[in-house]
Symmetry: D3
């Protein structure tokens, strides 16, 4: 039995509020149950130094957690003076995932930065961030298309992410904090709507796992991502 | 004429959503028009080193601005590795203001941290933060009283803050970004419900000002704070 | 009774030694009683990036306290690797104050940096810094005028600053450390010779204050600044 | 055809020089072809703060790359003042992997730190680090057993890691730098001798991949890890 | 001919103003010509962690240069967020030199910190710092003896330092900035009154030097230090 | 008697393995007994900002110690976020020493960086670094000459360095860790093959020393450097 009473392949309710803030070219408040992440997409007409003059754009991400997004208050990274290894690992993953579905040459010499700030955390903040970031990116690119700055859509596909894990011996979908902190293994999958994989990461926490378990986790992830793709489609409709 | 069409002594709509997040002992999303600040109050049963064993508590604040809260994206302080002088100045002001209405001895040997994170900025983020922080603090202390951890209320009074300024020669209340960025002078007042002043700061931006102007700004601030006191009362009712 | 035996409206002796060091374009050792601040004005023929090509100059300030300027040794900010919030707040105030009396367009595309280093502290270091910085700036600009680099004086007025506070219930002028550390409220005023205000900051420390008190503090500040204006005039004569 | 002329399932030569340095309780220079990593295991009779008094030990890792381990010189992280996101991601992975085969309770209240410093890089530095770290850990624990500080072996299994990827459409084992920098997708697997998985990470670089490809990469990894297990066994014999 | 017209073995005027500031247990403004360094000695009744419980004290130093001590303004180390290699090298030298003449066991479990802040620089700031630090240390220890906190004097000898160099082919004593920036070689010697050497450092700048030159520089240093010893004796008389 | 049984003027075995790594333009693993330092020389076709357009090149050095190069593990400077004063002092010395034998104008507008990383430490790491850096520089410059990028050799002479010290009252050559940590005084000399001195540094640790001792240490250093010059010649033959 899962602490939340969900079935093994049951996602938490997915909520997506597009255009949650006014200034960003794209923005969204995405919720996977009690996990809430504000994602903004900011378009800047310049590229980082390593891409100057190469005729292509860039998509990147930054991730943060408000100090009291969590059960007990964590320290503020700006006050500590550095981002944790966890933060950097997550923001690298988000950027990489969104670039996997963007044609950077079609984007032109501009950068889109996806800021993912966790307002409330209950497990799965990185996967909610990726899933929300696609919506924010979509909205920002729609604006570029509408204004004529872009004439061809550089976004090749939808992308979504979800966590799964082995909890008390059973593969389950979309871990919440109670499950995540006690899982034998947890995994994050970043999937495309056509079934392809952009990223698979599966980590033994309290017990190693076998190939069969890896495949069962991947299949759960497909179920979850299909729900997310549907929610994304409604949000940008 | 003000860009927003407001009269000189007219506040923007004040919105206060108490208990906006679940984990914090107190939380609120406060809005002064398009300025939106999430404030959480976190109770910790320990005090900073300089107060250990002194039989009193502490109230402190941290302030942050999400990178795309503003019209153009600002850099993330956690990524830059330090908080700006502006950030530090504001969080010092917030903490000082809330301590002005808290009896730290009655609070006991515990610390309450007020995290003020700006979700969307349109002028007045520091005054919205102070005004919202009082609500978050009130909710957190109510919890301590309800649980029996406190038996006497350490909050002595309500406190609120608002900005005013000289815009195109006229004193006006509650500057939005358009006004703030062009004001001759701007001021922030932190006031108590009994009319007393906890903090007055008035700065010449494009023109110095005289004593008469200072008094007129203070009187506008009283008008604004009275509206905020009423909104605070409704929020914690 | 004040610990120093001064009357409520009595300044400490003001000492100004112009040209205290040789290399700077302007320099001064200013004393308000036992508070001693060395201020240098450095002229550089360049402006910060945000002003390049805008046809105007810049005046900025940096502030520091020698580790043993105080009663007990404080840690060296260079060794800790960052400037405190207090330091940043003060240097922002100093720069803003001096810019309030400088016509930056007349200054031309050059920057004047006012370094205010506290040699010995006994209360009022920020107000002594501002008052001394005007002298250093005046000397540096006189040099630019004498050399023909400037033909029109960009300094519009004198500026001075002084602290006041409510000490044991009474408004007093120019707090020393003993008073400052026990004041109910303290205030810093930055005033022009024509009576206008560039900056007013009044903070409740142990007790909030009312409008009447604010006005009495401002009037004390005028008395103090008039003495400082006279001392500045003698120093640059 | 692979640039090196290897077959798809062919590892580069694996070299392991145990006891490469004298001071560390365990040390090894491991080579996967031209990739050379020096790993030392340092035993300290204390645990990090979060584990004090919990009756268990800790295994952790730090990773670094000498500035000229690479084709062109990279900047020294100590001089830049921070570790990159990549460095932190890798050292977190190494520590996690080694903890997966260590019984931390049997280790007792002591910490073993695995320092993995890349002397020369040609792809696969993180997997060489993990594979070498097991040898260094084994040697250090053997010392603790020999000295009587431990009486029961806390290392539960062998662990090894290898990279694989899709290069020009074909799954290949143990990418060198030429392949790694042009791969469609690359993956790192951390495997146990009994076939279980401690960590699987597969990332689309230039093209997403499907479930079948993921399984083929995993099977290549098993081939590679079996060679590494044999080399580890020879090294500690 | 030296730019200043001095003879090869002629020091600049040495000025020592003891008790230049009020709060420090010892303080001095020392001048070697236009080089002016403020040195304070701060006594703290604690020792650094590595000496706790070892029954001995510690003497250490910190060095700083005010931004406009030099001909052109240098950046403030506190603002840059780190001390330069030069600063650290100098403060390590100062601390080591003073410890060479202090019996740390006799000092008891307390620390004396020598803060050397350069007010104005014209060559020789590190040697002026060491020479002044001895005076500040002497004054601080005299206070400890006078108050009965110490009964036996832990200072074993006088110590002084001076620079020398090869300027236009000739060994000269006490380089000023003009000479220092053009010297073929420069050297710093830290000497005891009994003729012994605590530190000798001689560096080729534009030309290497031979043993004979090293000895001639050392002999010039003896001449200079004897003058400094006399000035130190007058200052603490 | 020396702990190692060596005679006072006996060096430890000198080992030099040129071309220890593949990517660097020059590389060497140098050993003075158990002290092992990997030095690489990296050629970059650019100069630091302060030399741009001046028609000359630059030679600089960076130094690091692997965390477990020493008897007990030291913390990793990259993880601490700054280089120690000792590290900076050493790398400044290495760079200065190599520049003393390089004609920077002949080098052209390029920079050669010498990275000295201590693999294993047993005293004398800075002198081994300098001695090895000459070999790495020589190899890198030979490559520039062979490729025709340089036509005239900018290296003017060989340079080598060795430590000496007063151990139990006797001057000895090439201190190992046991001697170094107990020496009364220690010294580092950087010498040219023609007998000239590039750098002499002699420091009292537990006892000051006299002129006669300084000269005896210098003479021991000549003996040691002559052995190093011979080893360097063999390595680059």
């Amino acid at each position: 039995m899962r602490p939340s009473g969900r079935t093994p392949d049951q996602m938490r309710p997915i909520t997506i509020e597009p255009r949650f803030t006014r200034h960003a070219e794209g923005s969204v408040l995405i919720g996977f149950g009690d996990t809430k992440v504000l994602v903004t997409a900011s378009v800047e007409e310049r590229v980082p130094p390593f891409l100057r003059g190469k005729g292509q754009g860039w998509v990147t991400a930054e991730y943060g957690m408000l100090p009291r997004a969590t059960h007990t208050r964590g320290s503020r990274e700006a006050a500590k003076g550095k981002q944790s290894g966890r933060t950097q690992e997550i923001q690298r993953l988000i950027g990489r995932s969104l670039r996997a579905v963007t044609d950077l040459t079609l984007l032109g010499e501009r950068q889109i930065t996806l800021d993912c700030d966790v307002i409330q955390a209950d497990g799965g903040t990185r996967t909610a961030s990726i899933s929300g970031a696609w919506v924010a990116l979509r909205l920002a690119v729609d604006g570029l298309l509408a204004s004529g700055k872009l004439t061809v859509d550089p976004i090749k596909q939808k992308i979504a992410a979800v966590s799964c894990g082995i909890y008390q011996g059973n593969p389950v979908l979309d871990l919440d904090y109670d499950e995540d902190s006690n899982a034998d293994a947890d995994a994050n999958f970043v999937l495309l709507e056509n079934g392809h994989i952009a990223e698979a990461q599966a980590t033994a926490e309290h017990a190693t796992y076998d190939e069969e378990a890896l495949l069962r986790l991947l299949r759960l992830a497909r179920i979850g991502c299909n729900e997310i793709f549907a929610a994304q489609a409604r949000a940008v409709a």
